[in-house]
Amino acid sequence: MKVILPASFGEPQPGQFVMIRISGLYEPLLARPISIYSFSRGGDSCAIELLYSVVGKGTQILAGLISGSQVEIHGPLGHGFAIDEAGKNVIFIAGGMGIAPLSLLTEHLCRDKCFAQSAMTFYLGAKTAKAVVGLDKLQKLCYNINVCTDDGTLGKKGLVTQVFQKDIKKYLPENTAVYACGPKEMLQSLAKILSGSKFPSQVSLEERMACGIGACLGCAVAIRNDKGALAYQRVCADGPVFNLGEIIWE
């Protein structure tokens, strides 16, 4: 969905999100956190695009909106991806809607950071061909796209993490950065694949949120802190981007 916003809306960093809500409704009560997929500015307004799949009440209502409907948008929120210097190889691993922040990141690296397109490799996974979104736009930004689906209806058959794992020897940790976003299970298996390796890896997490600004402490993620102890951080305000290695998975 595309949302037109006033010009005062700040330019988002890739990885940031917005809280979106239909005004005046108590049902659903809470705004939904959704990652920013694209941003453009023109004249006295700007626009963002959001990708979502219908998973519950909130997204169902969003899907039912007609063009011209009013929504409440709060953002951009959270911290985006930290970007290493140009000259490095970059690997993107996206599962499902996880393409949204990574597509914005790809765009940012190409246009604003002068990364060579040849240095970027994208692994894009989805359940089926129908669930693959954003591929057209991505193809204009990146040559090396490995598409895979769980049922083999598009690209290779298999999980995106397995496809990446087969290629992992092609990359050197010292000059490669990994950026990933997708379902928890995908990120967890990526953490296993990368554990013990030295690839600098950042992931964008998803969690249920109430406020989106760090107050409610609802979106906790378990992190290993500097002292090696478990601590809970807020996906909204301390993230949503975290170093993969510091996340404690159950």
């Binding site: 809500r21 108590y26 049902e27 659903p28 009560l29 809470l30 705004a31 009440k57 909130g58 709060h74 969690e207 249920r208 949120m209 109430a210 406020c211 600004i213 760090g214 107050a215 409610c216 402490l217 609802g218 979106c219 906790a220 993620v221 378990a222 478990l230 601590a231 809970y232 305000a237």
Partner: protein, 311 residues
């Protein structure tokens, strides 16, 4: 903001005993962080009071996630009183709040009487804390919290012990998860409470049908949001029948009208909780709405409407 100030000719100040507030709009503990989280959205100077996230003697990790779940007209939370501890609050968070002309109320929590007292003592000598709110009502922790608040004897005892150790006004925040909330209110009033705030969240749970598991890792959580307002109104009403100390109404306040309903019943002030999550500017919107209501109805003083309920 300035236009509002010049426009306002009505008196919004209310007194909670010794504690004087510039207006009746307070933030509910746990929904407004330590204040700084909202400083970009709200001019903190304009609030009646900021009640900060519950503070314990030592930092608390809080409960494992998932911690929240949306429900019909509300939400469940089981944060588990994650907080940085009273010492870090005094060293790191209080100096920021002192920059504002706003009453700061520290919500305190302990697992034992001794812990409540130690936290209270530390906050009483720290500069910039104007009152304490004793949390004997958190439903999401194994020890302390609601276990003190569900028995009139222990509720009175913790109130008495904290009162003995502090010169600050003491507010006691009650849980609705009891048979007779007014009996608890009477007990803490007798033990010296300067004011009573209610209600904390209602214990509830939510089931994930697909996984046949609870939505919250803690299994149960505390229900808040507009769904609980009728219960909060009923309990505030019941408590007002039985105590004479000031009562602060909390529970599902989303709009100006909601807030005014509690004042009409007789609450001297109100706390905004879950509404802050949905609209970070909710406190100010409600405050301005109250001022408009008074002006439109040609009422010069907010106190003129407090307790005007006609059953």
């Amino acid at each position: 903001m300035d236009t509002m100030k010049t426009k306002t000719s009505v008196n919004m100040a209310v007194n909670l005993g010794k504690l004087k507030l510039k207006n009746p709009v307070m933030t509910a503990s746990g929904t407004f962080g330590y204040g700084e989280e909202y400083a970009d959205y709200v001019d903190l100077n304009r609030l009646g009071a900021i009640v900060v996230k519950g503070l314990s003697l030592k930092p608390r990790l809080g409960n494992p996630p998932p911690r929240i779940m949306e429900t019909a007209g509300g939400m469940l939370n089981a944060i588990g009183l994650q907080n940085i501890g009273v010492d870090a609050f005094i060293a790191e968070k209080l100096p920021f709040l002192q920059k504002f002309d706003v009453k700061v109320i520290a919500n305190i929590y302990g697992e034992t009487y001794g812990e409540y007292i130690k936290v209270a003592k530390k906050l009483s000598i720290a500069k910039g804390v104007h009152a304490l709110e004793i949390n004997i009502s958190c439903p999401n922790v194994k020890k302390g919290g609601v276990s003190f608040g569900s028995d009139p004897k222990t509720a009175a005892e913790v109130t008495r012990q904290v009162k003995d150790e502090t010169g600050l006004p003491v507010i006691v925040k009650l849980t609705p998860n009891v048979t007779d909330i007014a009996a608890i209110a009477q007990a803490v009033e007798k033990a010296g409470a300067d004011a009573i705030s209610l209600i904390n969240t209602l214990a509830g749970m939510s089931v994930d049908l697909k996984k046949r598991k609870p939505h919250l890792k803690n299994i149960t959580g505390g229900l808040s949001g507009p769904a609980i307002k009728p219960i909060a109104l009923r309990m505030v009403w019941q408590v007002l029948q039985r105590v004479s100390v000031p009562v602060i109404g909390i529970g599902g306040i989303m709009t100006t009208e909601d807030a005014l309903e509690f004042l009409i019943l007789g609450a001297k002030a109100i706390q905004i909780g879950t509404a802050n999550f949905i609209n970070p500017h909710a406190t100010i919107d409600i405050l301005e709405g109250m001022q408009n209501y008074l002006q439109c109805n040609k009422i010069k003083d907010i106190n003129q409407i407090i307790g005007t309920f006609q059953p």
